[in-house]
Amino acid sequence: MPEPVAGLGDVDLPATAAETRAQESSSVYWLLVIGGLMMLLGGWLLPWFVEPTANGIGASPMDVVASPPRGVGSVLVDLMCLSMLGLLAGAAYDAVSLRLRRGQPYRWARQRAVLAAVGMVCTVTVWYLIAKRREEPLFGELSPLALTDNAVWLTLTGFALCCLAYGFRRPIAARSGLVLAAVALVIGALVPLIFRQSIEFISWAAGAAAIYTLLALGLNVVVGFAGLLDLGYAAFFAIGAYTCGSLASSRHGDVLHIPFWPYPFWIILFLGAAVAALFGALLGAPTLRLRGDYLAIVTLGFGEIIPDAANNNAFGQTGGPNGITGIHHPSLFGHDFGIDPRPYYYALLVLIALIIVVLRNLERSRIGRAWVAVREDEVAASATGINTVSTKLLAFAIGAAVSGFAGAFYGAELGIVSPDDFQFAVSVTALSTVVLGGIGSITGAAVGGLLISFIIFWILPHAQEWSMTFGNTTGFTALSSVDYSKYVYVAYGVILVSIMLLRPAGLIPSRARKVELQAGGESEPLAAVRGRA
């Protein structure tokens, strides 16, 4: 994110061609391009892996080979495949030329944009002809499978992203945060529509990706802004969930009674956040005076105590291993959310957007600058009059509050909270998300949340099918029986280690953090003197 950190950095005018290029091609640009190309490839390859015998017609060249279209359809599909190939070849050319001579790799942007637009139009037409008009004479035999439809949508989104990235490179570089937010919101809102056939995907999207994104956003305040490693983040998640569970279930006879408002879920949400923040402050107050790595292990211990306490039915309030059941579902303007995952998903999207706005403003406020100062050099920060303990405590409590918020929502959505949902794996997932996305970068946390959930809930479960299909087709039967869901922990570990070693600032680095992590050690003051930190 080429956002200047207020009060710390200044944006120099680009002096050389290289710097101009660097500014024009922000990480958001790359994210859009790479994301678009991945989706293109995904749409193309999906039928290969999932269902090699699919004979419906869609965007996939495989399907086209299986039952070739006739008439106008063949021209459309050919054109679409050509533009797809063109875009992929362009990316390969970029990669090669970047490696070979570090020359001008980003040429023919306009031509690529046109190519992507052509592909997009073709995809839409093909999809429309198949789905709405059922133009059989055009395409031969029709059996539009859910899978084919997903492939079409992936391809379509891919083309759209490429169009956007190549067509509007300069505006994107200038207002990258805004563009990314807009694209993310649109795609986020469209996800349930895109994958409308598979309900479990929607529940995945609602229940997990958004919650993990929320967790990552909160943890980012603690780890990224204030530089404190919190390894027991799931504890606050649990506290929020259990608060919601106790207040919003019949367990305590519906404690909260407000006239004309039988079930004040939206207040309970904030109560959950407040209780979590209180616990965060209670834990942080004695331990935040110590060095950061002690805090890490203290939070690790705390993260074990809370599920342990929940499991042991502490004070008779948590229901033991079974947890609290029968939590009421929330409602908004008289519309009961029920068990349909979609309203939860949209509510979470709105909440995430709100929280992102709040956190962005916090980051740029006086408090945010104090966090950066404390993170970089505590002694210097306290010498300039910052109360380091209360600054860190605030970060810790805000992070805990966001986690409690997410927990309360999670509890209300599932209708049940039990100790198993808050094990150490949750904390590590949140940490991996933050690290993957970029420590200290809000955009990074959001993107990381999506990526991680995609890996855990989509790639790993599907890897089984893919590997089975692949094993059966190629004859490597050993591949058919691998249980990929066991590899989640290894995947987290590999993400944490490889990101820290290879790209310590994460996929979408925050600018200040990038300089700090790359410079490190002795050259850190030098970077600060240059005004880059």
Partner: protein, 371 residues
């Protein structure tokens, strides 16, 4: 972080104000009273168990606590050594402990296979044949497993930590968590999610003696004896060898050690080797004692052992041993009093209490920076 002391000294009014604001007086009092309160609480717990469940229960739990503590102590030494020398909490250390138990199992199987094909004797049958056979088996199995685990520790340092030695503090901590998860995950993948037998059933059997109705088994004596032996050997090594001196020098001031000709990389690698080898000794002792291991065992044990290291004073090897035994007793008696449900939580809460009131630990050598 260097030069913090000078900055503090240069700013006396600020420092004084901060102490006042933080209620330094209370913390000071807590710090001084801490050892007394700790020992007092432990004695109270023991008396409580003795009164409620009888002397023999208290006695056998005492033995139990000391044996558990011996294993915690062996792991804690690895934490304290690594922390002392590069100021890194090696989160993966607990998992190295579990890994060593798995190594011990696999190496034992390999040895059994060799023994079966050459002489028709498996490791287990040799070990249960008599004291001499057992001694032979242990003398083969311990060095092999400790070497294998030590090499793993060195590899972890080489791949994951060395490049980040001068990076900001958060970076190596995060890779340490990552390494821990890679180890746990690979054990989950290879060993499965349930308890795994380690093929060491009945290696050490029988009761050594009975004192006051309390049976003390040979296995208990073996565990405690081995742990004490290892720790005394380590202490002697660090006190009197060249490499030990290099370690102490590196721990004190890495740059100065470098200037006086200490090979820093080799010294740190040796620290990881020794720490992991001691964890391996702990892992083998554990698997001889319990004959079962589970993929995420090292997670809880890691935090408990780290608590032991902090309690004893991080960076202090004797302290780690002492802390290990104390934490073992607290763990067992806390569990007994709360009927087994809260023992982990009690130890973790202990960690918070120690860090709040006495961050230097009981025998503190290195003062954790007060930020």
């Amino acid at each position: 972080m260097e030069g913090q002391g000078e900055v503090r000294a240069a700013l006396p009014p600020l420092a004084r104000r901060r102490t006042l604001l933080r209620g330094g007086g209370l913390a000071e009092l807590g710090s001084r009273a801490f050892p007394t309160v700790l020992i007092g609480a432990l004695v109270l717990m023991i008396v409580d168990v003795a009164v409620r469940s009888g002397l023999s229960v208290a006695g056998s739990q005492l033995v139990n606590g000391i044996t558990k503590g011996a294993i915690f102590a062996l792991i804690a030494v690895g934490y304290t050594m690594v922390y002392g020398i590069i100021e890194l909490i090696n989160f993966a250390h607990g998992d190295v402990f579990t890994l060593s138990a798995v190594y011990g199992k696999e190496i034992g199987r390999g040895l059994s296979w060799i023994g079966m094909s050459l002489w028709g004797v498996s490791l287990g049958s040799l070990a249960t044949r008599g004291p001499l056979g057992l001694a032979v088996v242990l003398l083969i199995l311990f060095p092999l497993t400790m070497a294998a685990t030590g090499i793993t520790g060195v590899l972890i340092e080489r791949v994951a930590y060395r490049r980040l030695r001068d990076a900001p503090r958060l970076a190596p901590l995060i890779t340490a968590v990552g390494v821990s998860f890679i180890l746990e995950g690979s054990m989950l993948v290879t060993q499965g999610s349930s308890n795994v037998r380690t093929d060491k059933e009945g290696w050490i059997r029988g009761t050594a003696f009975t004192a006051g109705g309390v049976d003390v088994h040979w296995a208990d004596i073996f565990v405690v004896g081995m742990a004490l032996l290892m720790m005394f050997a380590l202490q002697a090594f660090i006190r009197s060898t060249r490499l030990g001196k290099a370690m102490r020098a590196t721990a004190q001031d890495r740059d100065a050690a470098l200037l006086s000709g200490v090979n820093i990389n080799r010294t740190i690698a040796a620290t990881f080797f020794i720490g992991s080898a001691l964890a391996a000794a702990g892992g083998l002792i554990y698997s001889i004692f319990f004959d079962s291991v589970v993929w995420n065992l090292g997670f809880g044990f890691g935090i408990i052992a780290f608590t032991a290291a902090v309690l004893g004073g991080i960076g202090n090897i004797v302290g780690a041993g002492l802390g290990g035994f104390l934490i073992g007793l607290i763990y067992v008696f806390g569990g007994q009093i709360t009927s087994g449900q809260w023992s982990n939580s009690i130890v973790f809460a202990m960690l918070i209490v120690v860090l709040t009131f006495r961050p230097v630990g009981l025998l503190g050598m290195r003062v954790p920076d007060r930020a």
